[in-house]
């Protein structure tokens, strides 16, 4: 992943996880949390769902550090029901009325609201749940540590996105999603959105108004924010900016990412793309190295390439450092490969024309400038740059004939006659 923000390392590790700098000097305080009635009602509902008259004692609900159950034979939806609160390593408190249970849970509001946030608001769907838990390290850190960190704001990087998670005084999660380059910019200085689907317009064009055919290209424009989102909307924004990246990251974490390598992907193609399978001629994989260097470098795509030439043959170029994996050559790569399959079927020829040493270097400068997307950075009067427009126009005026042939040499030998 090519993080565009030079300051990114101050707040996140290479893998995007929060650093410990906040906690180093003074341990942040766990905020006071009021237990909202919807969280308490959800606990009663859950206890009711677990009560099955035929199954004996129902399973308790386990929170961090304690569990709650309905007393044997009672029903949670019965006003006279009694409850048991079982603190780990301590004697259970039995015979609690609903009112007493509420008081006990209110004392433990962080753990109860944490349960409510993930079990009832975030829900079961694997990618969404894993992503939102990862943001606050919910499978590693204690509720107290997380709530303290959330009170300060936890920041995570995802491609060029910066996701900030907070907790309200009712234990609800709220998220801001913005461009990493806009980290620290006040919300009222950014274009604020609340509908996650608005992100479709944000991702369509880059800052110069050019279409972005590849959503994971590092060309996301800045200047906008999705502020104060609930967990589901935060996930939807991320999914809209970088489709399926969370699902693939989740599969990878679960150890079942389905990688489809180059050869298998090309073999699958049909129609106008069927020709790409002919590019593999059993003569090595150098051409695929070139494709990966051209298209899949972190400077071109923020996904971390996990596909190789085939399951036994790794490519020789780096797959990148992105947070989320690339599991097979994408449609942009397949389309480009179709073009290269045709171009690479040509045989090299020897052309003879003269260039001064500086002109040779200038041709190299021009190719570099285009390949690195630098042409807009080259100033109009900066004639020291080989890819400067005046320099290029001079070279064309001097070295091209009227047909546009470099050095006056026709591309096709037959064209001379």
């Amino acid at each position: 992943m090519a993080d565009q923000s030079p300051d990114a390392d101050r707040e996140t590790d290479d893998d995007g996880s929060p650093t410990e700098t906040q906690a180093a000097d003074s341990e942040p305080a766990v905020p006071d949390i009021d237990l909202p009635s919807d969280a308490f009602d959800a606990v009663l509902d859950a206890l009711g769902e677990r009560a099955d008259p035929d199954e004996g004692a129902p399973e308790p609900i386990r929170f961090e550090g304690f569990a709650v159950a309905v007393s044997g034979g009672d029903r949670a939806d019965d006003a006279d029901a009694r409850y048991v609160l079982d603190p780990a390593g301590d004697d259970p408190r039995t015979g609690l009325s609903e009112r007493e249970l509420h008081a006990a849970l209110a004392e433990r509001a962080p753990a109860v609201t944490d349960w409510y946030a993930f079990e009832r608001v975030v829900g079961e769907f694997g990618p969404r749940r894993a992503f939102l838990r990862w943001i606050e390290d919910a499978d590693g850190a204690t509720v107290a540590a997380r709530y303290a960190a959330l009170a300060e704001g936890i920041e995570r990087a995802w491609g060029q996105l910066r996701v900030t998670a907070r907790v309200t005084d009712r234990g609800e999660r709220r998220y801001d999603v913005r461009h990493a380059d806009d980290a620290g910019v006040p919300i009222d200085e950014l274009d604020a959105h609340d509908d996650p689907l608005d992100a479709r317009e944000i991702v369509k064009l880059d800052e110069k108004g050019r279409y972005r055919p590849l959503k994971t290209a590092p060309t996301l424009r800045d200047g906008w924010v999705f502020a104060d989102l609930g967990p589901r909307d935060a996930y939807e924004v991320v999914e809209t900016v970088y489709p399926a990246t969370v699902a693939n990251w989740h599969r990878e974490r679960e150890g079942d990412l389905d990688v489809t390598h180059w050869r298998e992907t090309m073999e699958r193609q049909s129609g106008i793309y069927g020709v790409v399978k002919t590019w593999d001629r059993g003569e090595g994989h150098e051409h695929v190295n070139w494709v990966a260097e051209a298209c899949c470098d972190d400077s071109q795509c923020l996904k971390r390439r996990e596909w190789e030439y085939d399951a036994d043959t790794e490519l020789d170029v780096d797959g990148g450092d992105g947070a989320f994996p690339c599991r097979e050559p994408c449609s942009v790569v397949v389309s480009a490969a179709r073009k290269w399959t045709r171009l690479e079927s040509e045989q090299p020829r020897t052309y003879e024309f003269e260039l001064t040493p500086s002109e040779k270097e200038q041709v190299e400068d021009i190719i570099d400038a285009v390949a690195d997307g630098r042409i807009d950075e080259i100033r109009e009067a900066d004639t020291k740059e080989g890819a400067n427009r005046y320099r290029a126009r001079f070279l064309r005026a001097k070295r091209f004939d009227d047909e546009g042939n470099l050095g006056g040499v026709p591309t096709d030998e037959d064209a001379e006659e």
Partner: protein
């Protein structure tokens, strides 16, 4: 949990190619008939290969936003979605009658209902008529007007022409327009000669394409003679010879297309409540008075 997945072509070059897909998804989302509405593309993201893994529901309807049965609906989409055991015979179609096939998508190991394309559904006929109403801004357009339904033609697949003829015939049977003709870009009768096929002074030209792009914005306007060069633009209507041509652009951009997507899902068993009526109502052309 009931999920709708709209799959469409998309583009590496044209930023507006996906716009109709998003618009129809939004219209359907607003009805609340589905717990989630997702979009997947051949040339954009999420790709067909990965869209299903973004779907949460256990009752999944996949509707292709394509105009005819053929290469994409029969080969590319089932292959890329990894529909286990797919064979085109599962649709039992004559080229127009694909409805749905229930198959396990290997990617998610869940069943999906793979529906026929929107373009061959009978409700598509109404969208073509609605498109004519939209472009003329007249909810009663018909009398004194001809209607040309225009398709690509046979390139790659004969079903492309079948869909055009099917809808043109159905509209003709309604006796609403004075004349209805099916015309093609790359076979006879050709859209280039449009005025030769109509006696009416006014003809609405509706291309059966999903999104506006090269064919509908460059090819057809130039071929028909609405402009010398598409970059000049054209008026609606534009007179060519003695015929005023009301060029509608891609029918797939018409808001009522959302209705056809819903019809496909309903035919495959989706529970839609009042969504069909809601969409027909909210996408209507306002009457002038």
């Amino acid at each position: 949990m009931q999920s709708l997945v709209i799959v469409a072509h998309g583009s590496h070059l044209n930023p507006e190619s996906s716009a109709p897909t998003y618009d129809h998804a939004d219209t359907i989302r607003a009805t609340g008939a589905f717990d989630e509405v997702k979009t997947g593309f051949w040339k954009e993201e999420p790709h067909f290969r990965e869209v299903l893994r973004t779907v949460e529901g256990d009752e999944v309807y996949v509707v292709p936003l394509f105009v005819s049965e053929g290469y994409f609906t029969e080969q590319v989409i089932p292959r890329e979605l990894r529909l286990d055991g797919w064979d085109v015979s599962a649709w039992g179609s004559d080229g127009l009658s694909a409805d749905q096939a229930t198959l396990v998508a290997e990617d998610i190991d869940r069943e999906v209902r793979y529906c026929g394309p929107v373009g061959t559904h009978r409700a598509m006929t109404d969208v073509i008529v609605r498109r004519a109403e939209s472009v003329t801004d007249d909810p009663d357009v018909g009398e004194g007007f001809g209607l040309a339904v225009v398709g690509h033609g046979t390139e790659r697949n004969e079903n492309s022409a079948k869909a055009i003829e099917y809808h043109a015939d159905r509209i003709a049977e309604r006796d609403r327009f004075d004349e209805v003709e099916a015309l093609y870009m790359d076979e006879e009768p050709e859209v280039d000669d449009l005025p030769d096929f109509f006696e009416s002074d006014d003809v609405v030209l509706v291309p059966l394409f999903i999104a506006d792009g090269y064919h509908t914005q460059e090819d057809i306007p130039e071929d028909v003679g609405l402009c010398e060069d598409h970059t000049e633009g054209y008026d609606v209507p534009t007179a060519v010879e003695d015929t005023r041509i009301w060029y509608a652009g891609a029918v797939g951009t018409e808001p009522l297309m959302a209705d056809v997507v819903l019809e496909r899902a309903a035919d495959a068993g989706a529970d839609l409540g009042t969504a069909l009526d809601d969409v027909r109502e909210t996408t209507r052309v306002a009457t002038g008075d």
